[in-house]
């Protein structure tokens, strides 16, 4: 069986090429950042980077969760509806039991709702896209029912503590940004190096094959939805903390931005492929484009056209030049 080795020829060369290909989208991000550094005096400042991370916090958390979902072969369009409900629950708990209980409560509610979403999707076998869309309508409705459609806010004396997540912390970044970075790293390691992560890839790559290998595909997907719920709750907590209040319409539509960021980063929406750093790069590309526009003082009339073209260029370049083999 000597011929079997033909395919493994010149491994060193191959490996290098693979790397360049795989990181194509990073060059896109670097190119945009370089352009902004050269064309504005303000892009490459500490203050601006603090802003960038702060702006990326919400989408970043949702995109990290969306990466797990998409890699495991599901979409979670209910994430921002869950965000609203858990933020509202957090504020209501805060009113009665204090700020810390409120934050913990928000996270528990988020994880619980995520689990419920997962159980619904897995047990009814409905396509996750439509299933979570329906669930998101239900959760938004729930948010209206429990608030009566009004804004909820912590008691005035709790407000300062409640706004913890807007405070500067590590490297001057807001606590919310730090949380986002931490969650991205932790979930990145989970996906990359744990058995759970491997199972996520397996379920998303070929569900039937995973099942035939004895993997409980349903449990894996429910767990992924639960984590997604947890991340939504964190994002909700940060948003509520910034605003000092919560309401049913929070972050409508941001779930799509998060999915867009994940895909721009290069994770396949077909499942079974992708990585956490890709979500982060995708989020950063979107954030930097918006930021750059504002710093460049360009006429915002053309902003949308240019934003669209840039996203297209980034994704197309990645596909055309760097990852031909999957084409």
């Amino acid at each position: 069986m000597t011929t079997a080795t033909v395919a493994v020829s010149a491994p060193a060369d191959k490996k290098f090429k693979l790397n360049v290909r795989d990181f194509g989208i990073v060059f896109g991000l670097i190119a945009i950042m370089l352009f902004l550094t050269l064309n504005t005096g303000t892009f490459l400042t500490g203050r601006n980077f603090i802003n960038l991370f702060d702006q990326a916090a919400i989408v970043g958390l949702l995109a990290a969760a969306a990466t797990l979902c998409i890699v495991s072969g599901v979409f979670d369009l209910s994430s921002t509806a869950n965000l609203a409900v858990s933020a509202i629950a957090g504020v209501m708990i805060t009113q009665h039991l204090g700020v810390i209980a409120g934050f913990v409560g928000a996270l528990l509610v988020g994880a619980a709702l995520g689990t419920v979403t997962g159980l619904i999707v897995v047990s009814t076998k409905v396509n996750s896209f439509i299933g979570t869309l329906a669930v998101s309508i239900i959760y938004r409705g729930l948010a209206i029912v429990i608030t009566g459609g009004a804004i909820v806010a912590p008691l005035p004396e709790q407000l300062a503590a409640f706004q913890t997540w807007t405070w500067p912390s590590l490297f001057g970044l807001t606590a919310g940004s730090v949380l986002m970075v931490a969650v991205t790293i932790v979930l990145g390691i989970v996906l990359w190096r744990t058995t759970f992560g491997r199972r996520i890839y397996a379920v998303g790559g070929n569900k039937e094959a995973a099942r035939l290998s004895g993997i409980r595909t349903g449990s894996i997907q429910v767990a992924v939805f639960a984590i997604s719920g947890l991340c939504s709750a964190m994002a909700g907590m940060i948003l509520a903390s910034r605003a000092g209040s919560a309401q049913p319409a929070m972050a409508i539509g941001v779930e799509l931005t998060a999915i867009a960021a994940v895909v721009i980063g290069g994770t396949s929406i077909l499942g079974g492929q992708g990585a956490m750093w890709r979500a982060f790069v995708g989020v950063m590309i979107l954030t930097v484009i918006g930021n750059g526009f504002n710093l460049l003082h360009w006429d915002t009339t053309y902003q949308q056209v240019v934003t669209g073209v840039l996203i297209l260029l980034a994704v197309a370049a990645d596909g055309l030049f760097f990852r031909k083999r999957t084409g």
């Binding site: 069986m1 080795t5 395919a7 058995t195 890839y201 070929n206 094959a209």
Partner: protein, 508 residues
């Protein structure tokens, strides 16, 4: 669940293989009964063959044992204890591993990760890939397979994917191995190697249940053989008393002539139909040959030698870098499948699932797909004509199990292969390129496909056959080209011996 707890995988590993008894197993899909009251038992350490025509229910039976689908009736007993197998994980917990006909690898994970799928070595939940890698190295040494542990499973040729599946079962310490046509996608050398592995496993106490359409292979390997026909158990007998002919008699219920038919010699004045000149692509280099009217050219070679790629390049499906193809003296535009089809070329590709069939669509539609415009009027499909043509061709390839509107995915593997063949014969081609034409079809259907290829040639079609079954290539072809590393390295006439061809394919 209770049983699962009693028999943890570790305990199964240490104990010997159980005696398997199945009784009264039945399975229905909608109104059609696929398995009816199957009762048989398999002794520990036995190699048990299961044979039958395409659609007889062999895969269904194995899937039930492996937990991939649940039986509607009947029970499975291991060592006289009834067990409930409703999910693959139940079967795995009892030491039963299924290697199904459609391979079940995760394309985006590496060989290493696939082999230990679901049972990676870990501390807490962090992976310990080093330990897995060592384990895999041992398994590779035991089996003699040569695989790159880091290669992506999706990038491997199909033969190596099959090896990964076997390693996967071994890594689980399976005591019962259910293999559904494992050799259908392998070449001669790989086949021989696999049979050796199976014998080794059996001699060390593993039970093997094997589905195969290769009569000699089965007879040379198994202890006993069970015959299924139309979902019913016909008989279970010792293999030793049987000949290929007697087995076929049991399977089909009548006599079949399954020798490769004699193809008439090419007449000396037959025109050259196909001329391939210096064709090169990323996978093949400078391939040139001609095929005359009524001639069958066989291409032999090892996995990865570029046989399939030669056909794809000729058909305009793989981008060529130089060279060209002429049909009846007319030079085809490079890289245009449509022009190749227009010139009368047809390609039966090697992978029916990836390249051949649209699984989500009905059988009729699949068969008619490449010849749509011929049976349409003003853009509308002429359904009645289509139906007539399809049912005629289905009959002549002996396609079974298709009801009105049934999806191609619901057919048995062999019948899917027949549908694929039918698709390209719907309009009789001037040039027929076939890649592994009889992969997974039963002996009777194989004879029929061989007969059809010979018939087409007799009527003047120029045929190029690629097959990993040397008998098929040698038996069918007028001339044989051998490929190695993307080049044609030898040419033989039809009187060549197996050994001659093998040697030239291996030679460095």
């Amino acid at each position: 669940m209770a049983i699962q707890q009693l028999d943890s995988p570790e305990r199964v590993n240490r104990s010997a293989a159980p005696e398997i008894t199945i009784s009264g197993i039945g399975k229905r899909y909608g109104a059609s009964t696929v398995l009816r009251d199957i009762t048989l038992s398999v002794a520990p350490g036995e190699i048990h063959g299961i044979m039958g025509e395409n659609g007889a229910g062999k895969s269904t039976l194995l899937k039930i044992l492996g937990g991939a689908i649940a039986a509607d009736f009947g029970v499975v007993k291991l060592d006289d204890r009834e067990v409930k197998i409703t999910e693959p994980r139940d079967a795995i917990a009892h030491g039963i591993s299924l290697i199904s006909q459609e391979l079940a690898l995760i394309p985006g994970l590496s060989v290493l990760e696939n082999v230990f799928l679901g049972r990676w070595a870990n501390t807490g939940s962090l992976l310990r890939s080093r330990r897995d890698a060592d384990h895999l190295e041992r398994l590779l040494a035991e089996t003699g397979f040569e695989l790159d542990p880091r290669a992506m499973a999706g990038d491997l040729p199909i033969g190596q994917q099959q090896q990964v599946e076997i390693l996967k079962a071994l890594a689980r310490g399976a005591k019962v191995l259910c293999m559904d046509e494992p050799t259908a996608v392998l070449n001669e050398a790989e086949k021989a190697q696999l049979l050796k592995v199976i014998r080794n496993l059996a001699s060390s106490g593993t039970t093997v249940i094997l589905v195969s359409h290769y009569l000699e292979e089965v007879l040379g390997l198994v202890d006993r053989v069970t015959i299924l026909r139309d979902g019913q158990h016909i008989t279970t007998e010792d293999a030793s008393g049987h000949t290929p002919e007697s087995l076929v008699g049991l399977m089909v219920g009548r006599e079949v002539d399954f020798l490769i038919p004699e193809v008439p010699p090419v007449s000396p004045e037959a025109k050259t139909v196909v001329q391939v000149a210096g064709l090169s692509s990323s996978k093949v280099q400078d391939v040139s040959f001609t095929v005359r009217q009524g001639e069958i050219l066989g291409i032999a070679g090892l996995v990865g030698s570029g046989r399939s790629e030669t056909l794809l390049a000729m058909f305009g499906a793989d981008r060529t870098t130089s060279g060209h193809v002429q049909i009846n003296g007319r030079r085809l535009r490079a890289n245009s499948i449509r022009e190749a089809i227009k010139a009368g070329m047809a390609l039966v590709p090697e992978s029916r699932k990836e390249q051949g069939l649209v699984m989500s669509r009905p059988v009729d539609e699949n068969i008619a797909l490449s010849t749509l415009s011929g049976r349409s009027l003003g853009g509308f499909v002429r359904v009645a004509r289509e139906k007539a043509a399809v049912s005629e061709i289905s009959h002549s390839v002996d396609l079974r199990g298709a009801r009105r509107g049934s999806l191609i995915a619901d057919l048995s593997g062999g019948n899917q292969q027949k549908a694929l063949f039918a698709k390209w014969l719907l309009n009789p081609p001037a040039v027929l390129l076939v890649d592994e034409p009889t992969r997974g079809v039963d002996i009777a259907a194989k004879a029929r496909i061989h007969g059809m290829i010979a018939d087409l040639a007799a009527k003047g079609t120029a045929v190029v056959v690629v097959s990993s079954e040397l008998e098929e290539v040698i038996g069918l072809s007028h001339r044989i080209h051998v490929m190695r590393q993307g080049r044609i390295v030898a040419e033989f006439d039809r009187n060549a011996s197996r050994d001659e061809v093998m040697t030239s394919a291996f030679l460095k």
